[in-house]
């Protein structure tokens, strides 16, 4: 247990610090309400008025998907850890190297804490608005529905935990890129494009053409929203749900291995800035 203690402390410290940014959480929540509401209206129009609908999901499922996506937005890897970028820029990265801990694990834990602490208040507010307030306001058709059943809910919790690990592992790849190039500008503007399109954030992956579906499920970004959400909705159940979880585990391990190897390489020839 002694080996784990510094990492647990790092997680707790970062988590508590990030929870303090309440105004940012409220601002994020407002934006997500607008985006979510807009999407719900557009999907409703498509489902109600289209000429030939042959969608694999019902409108209610797509709406729940949309709210879940907005609620879990901060769990998706939108860029590198700003503190890593600052450490690389100022030279404070040498402190991190001097700590008697494994740098990769240290940064990984901190990234996971950073993402989950930002996601928690946003998800809670989103749930209150979309799952509680909307039905009370009589907008039942627009609301966030409960999971398919208890089994799916349990699997969803598992998948959500894996989503956090997968997101943190991908964030570490971005951190690696920042450490190697000494700037976060390039990668932080490029990475979101992939996350938006391939995670299901833009539109549920299931609504893309049928011929591309196998490739969409297999790629790593599906585990960052689409797989947990499909499990929640019950469109991935039984063996397929377990396969989805296995994919998440597979990509997490792949990213961690790549990241560890990369960090070792970069750190061995890191030049510290600053005087």
């Amino acid at each position: 247990m002694n080996i784990l203690r510094p990492y647990l402390a790092a997680f707790a410290a970062r988590f508590k610090t990030m929870l303090q940014y309440r105004a940012a959480a409220v601002a994020g929540f407002t934006t997500q309400c607008w985006w979510g509401g807009l999407k719900v209206m557009v999907y409703t129009a498509f489902y109600r008025h289209s000429v030939h609908a042959h969608a694999p999901m019902t409108l209610a499922q797509v709406i729940t998907y949309t709210w879940l996506g907005q609620a879990l937005l901060a769990l998706q890897p939108w860029g590198g850890d700003p503190e890593v970028a600052a450490a690389v820029r100022t030279g404070a990265v040498s402190y991190d190297r001097l700590r008697p801990v494994d740098t990769y694990t240290w940064w990984f834990i901190r990234a996971a804490a950073w993402m989950s602490a930002r996601a928690l208040p946003r998800a809670a507010l989103m749930f209150a608005a979309a799952a509680v307030l909307l039905p009370l306001a009589g907008l039942d058709a627009w609301s966030w529905r409960a999971p398919a059943d208890a089994t799916q809910a349990g699997l969803f919790v598992l998948s959500l935990a894996l989503m956090i690990l997968l997101g943190a592992a991908f964030t570490m790849l971005i951190n690696l890129c920042i450490t190697a190039t000494l700037t976060d500008r390039g990668i932080n503007t490029l990475a979101p494009a992939f996350v938006i399109l391939l995670s299901g954030n833009l539109i549920p992956l299931g609504l893309f053409p049928d011929w591309i579906q196998p490739a969409l499920i297999a790629q790593p970004f599906a585990g960052m929203l689409d797989i947990p959400t499909r499990i929640y909705l019950g469109t991935l159940s039984g063996g397929a749900a377990w396969a989805g979880l296995a994919l998440q585990v597979f990509w997490t391990l792949t990213f961690v291995m790549l990241g560890r190897k990369g960090i070792a390489g970069v750190m061995s020839r890191l030049e510290v800035q600053g005087g």
């Binding site: 407002t30 509401g37 209206m41 498509f46 000429v51 609908a53 399109l197 053409p209």
Partner: protein, 267 residues
Amino acid sequence: MNGLFLLRRYFVTSMRAQLQYPASSLMLAFSALLTNAIELAGIWALFNRFGEVQGWRFGDICLFFGMVSISFSIADFMSRGFDVFGNEFVRTGDFDRVLLRPRTTTLQLVGYDFRLRVIGRLIQGLLVLAVATRALDLHWGVGEVALALWTIAGGVALFFGLVVLQATLAFWTVESLEVVNVVTYGGVQAAQYPLGFYTSWFRNFLIFVVPIACIAYFPVLAILHKADPLGAPGWFLPLAPAVGFAFLATSFVAWRFGVRKYTSTGT
């Protein structure tokens, strides 16, 4: 004329500074292009699956999207100073210096920074217009082109006005209010789809509160030679972008009021 000369100097300085890092500027512009092009993939996928919706096709949406992207990119290019106004001018007290100089605040804030990266969104807008032209087999006569330019001008005025309003709020909030991004970036998003897609209170919001429909939906109907299925009078459609200018004028009235109320945070 001296004002224009100064603005050119500001522009040249800004361009030179960014061209010191050509790779970075190019990459930022490319990412902007990519991020916006991805939106289109989503719209395409929806139409591919659902087909026509209320008589609207993929090409129509492209026309809305392209027009509003172009307007927003041009406004974004000119309004950076207002966009960062709260954080970079009010909170730091730097606005005092702006007020001391013998030129208008607007001129100085417009000249503050011209960001090259918005070219990405502009190019994306033009490409989407090209896609729309192909998909709908549009014929761009003199009338249509003039109407399109007029629509873009109205759109630039509206988006510029929104950023000026955001800056005005900073006189009281002391920091840039990100919430306004909801109506700028979110407005671009909302303007992609015809008004008929939305529920009635949201339609009214887009017509009367933040009149984005007047610089996208209505004039684009006129370009397409379509009547409004929701019943807006035909004579109004080509005139609608004028609302953008009215909005800009109102924003500047608010801005002047804010400047008069301004109390420095500086020491």
